[in-house]
């Protein structure tokens, strides 16, 4: 049985609209899938299939190369102790530098407390973006050029690279503080700095410390490769073993890096548990 003409119009019109819209969006979706698939296929063709020397690769050659790394060269172990310590210290100093520099940047980049309003807010946010958008190795190259080879360049590179993450998370924590204590501090007649110190700082300190520990953990990883561009630490040893084609030695350095990172992981876990 068919419904009356009056019933048809309103509902059916609506239903027709919806199904037409759905068909359209379905076509769009499949179209998008197809385009993404085509893009992936093209990328693989362009940069992997076309650009690789397939004749060089065989099961035998792959096995042979892998085999070379298996002969871990323990004779260089003693000479790695100093660079390993240097790497850990570089990460720590870099994090401390980043921590100190991140405080004013977070102050500028937190919309609710930025001293000169929108102007200083934009400036603070720009500093954060700049710090994070340049890779740590590129910062290291810049500082090697500026202060010469050695660990100082690595410390500066990681310090600058750390500002972005720490200050961004802290600035966002500042924007999210509970306004009650701020109001209370204003009401007792505290000045602006005292309001920051008592109304805001205690609320953001856990975020700050947590993120500094996290950044330190990341910086240990970063500092193991700083030497590749001449900024000291285990990366330099890695670079030397590679240049000498001493694959056993490369493997030894990689093992030491692994140990250092595990040690850093444990230390940051303990630090986090102690502080938070």
């Amino acid at each position: 049985m068919r419904a009356g003409a009056a019933d048809l119009t309103a509902y059916d019109l609506h239903a027709d609209q919806i199904s037409a819209w759905r068909n359209r969006s379905r076509r769009m979706r499949y179209g998008t899938y197809f385009m993404v698939a085509a893009l992936i296929a093209w990328s693989v063709e362009a940069i992997v299939i076309g650009d690789t020397d397939w004749d060089r690769i065989s099961w035998a050659s792959m096995f042979k190369s892998a085999r070379q790394f298996m002969d871990v060269d323990f004779s260089i172990l003693g000479s790695l102790l100093t660079p390993a310590i240097e790497t850990a210290l570089m990460a720590t100093l870099g994090t401390l530098l980043g921590l100190v520099l991140a405080v004013p940047v977070a102050w500028l980049g937190a919309a609710n407390i930025s001293p000169l309003g929108k102007f200083s807010y934009a400036f603070g946010r720009a500093l954060m973006t700049m710090s994070r958008s340049v890779h740590e190795l590129v910062w290291a190259l810049i500082f090697v050029a500026a202060v010469g080879l050695g660990a100082l360049a690595g410390v500066l590179a990681m310090g600058i690279r750390s500002i972005g993450f720490i200050s961004k998370t802290v600035a966002e924590a500042i924007e999210d503080v509970n306004p009650g204590p701020v109001e209370a501090m204003r009401a007792v007649g505290a000045n602006r700095f005292q309001v920051l110190l008592f109304g805001i700082l205690p609320q953001v300190i856990p975020v700050f410390i947590g993120n500094v520990i996290f950044e330190w953990d990341v910086n240990i990883r970063r500092s193991t490769i700083m030497g590749l561009v001449g900024a000291g630490g285990l990366g330099l040893a890695l670079h030397r073993q590679m240049s000498a084609y001493n694959y056993g030695g490369v493997a030894t350095v990689l093992l030491v890096i692994l140990l250092l990172i595990i040690a850093g992981e444990i230390a940051s876990y303990l630090a986090r548990r102690a502080v938070i």
């Binding site: 209370a184 204003r186 007792v188 007649g189 000045n191 110190l197 008592f198 205690p202 609320q203």
Partner: protein
């Protein structure tokens, strides 16, 4: 008794354009425990925050000890705030600081920036904080972190923080809304005792009419930014309440 606070034709308009206070006049005398009652959104909280300029009024005069607070510059206003203690609905304690450090923040207005950076309060201040914590019954919780206390205990910390300012007046914003009825009565009782003991007048926002009538010496009724009543608690009857709360029963 003389007037300590005189508010004249106070007007507040928020940026959205709605006028929250439409010309309020009242005085607080130095022995008053003055309650402001009225429905939610009537402007009670805005009114009390205008007195210490946490909210900036658009027009009017706020004469505190004869001086118009609205004409003061930033540092003069900070100095004036030291004389006006405030107690908040949500207590507004610094959760991660100890109880005594919370009380001592009440001295920030008297403490230089460098000293406050190291929390180097004077010995007198520390002594005073201990005495006040004993007075509000929290002496054994002195070293605890503020977030470990119950609601009633936190409000007592808030009271001690306001008192250590050595205030000439107390602003009290809905002191009992976050508390259960029994604790609410204890807190109101404590505020009344302390007001008498320290000889400070109180201006108190409160939505619970029964508490207002029981603890206060004078009542102001606010409705939609206009003062509808100003008198003694004894004068308040059903008709007055119906007027203030614009109840549809009449």
């Amino acid at each position: 008794m003389s007037a300590i606070l005189e508010v004249r034709d106070l007007r507040v308009r928020y940026s959205a354009g709605k006028e929250v206070l439409k010309g309020i006049n009242f005085t607080v005398r130095s022995d008053d425990f003055l309650a402001i009652i009225g429905p939610s959104g009537s402007g009670k909280s805005t009114l009390i925050r205008c007195v210490n300029r946490l909210v900036e009024p658009n027009a009017g005069e706020i004469l505190f000890e004869g001086r118009d607070l609205l004409r003061l510059g930033e540092s003069e206003m900070r100095a004036a705030r030291r004389n006006i203690g405030m107690i908040f609905q949500e207590f507004n304690l610094i959760e991660r600081l100890s109880v005594i450090d919370n009380v001592l923040t009440g001295r920030l207005g008297y403490t230089g920036t460098w000293r406050s950076l190291f929390r180097a309060y004077t010995r007198d201040d520390i002594r005073n904080a201990i005495r006040l914590l004993d007075r509000v019954g929290l002496i054994e919780h002195l070293d605890k972190r503020a977030d470990q206390l119950s609601g009633g205990q936190r409000q007592r910390v808030g009271i001690a923080r306001a008192l250590i300012q050595d205030p000439k007046m107390l602003l009290v914003d809905e002191p009992t809304s976050s508390l259960d009825p029994k604790i609410a009565r204890e807190v109101m009782g404590l505020i009344r005792e302390i007001a008498r003991e320290f000889g400070v007048p109180v201006l108190c926002n409160i939505h619970d009419v029964n508490l207002a009538l029981e603890y206060c010496t004078r009542v102001i009724g606010l409705q939609d930014g206009i003062k509808r009543f100003d008198g003694a608690p004894a004068e308040i009857d059903k008709r007055v309440l119906a007027d203030i709360y614009a109840m549809e029963t009449l």
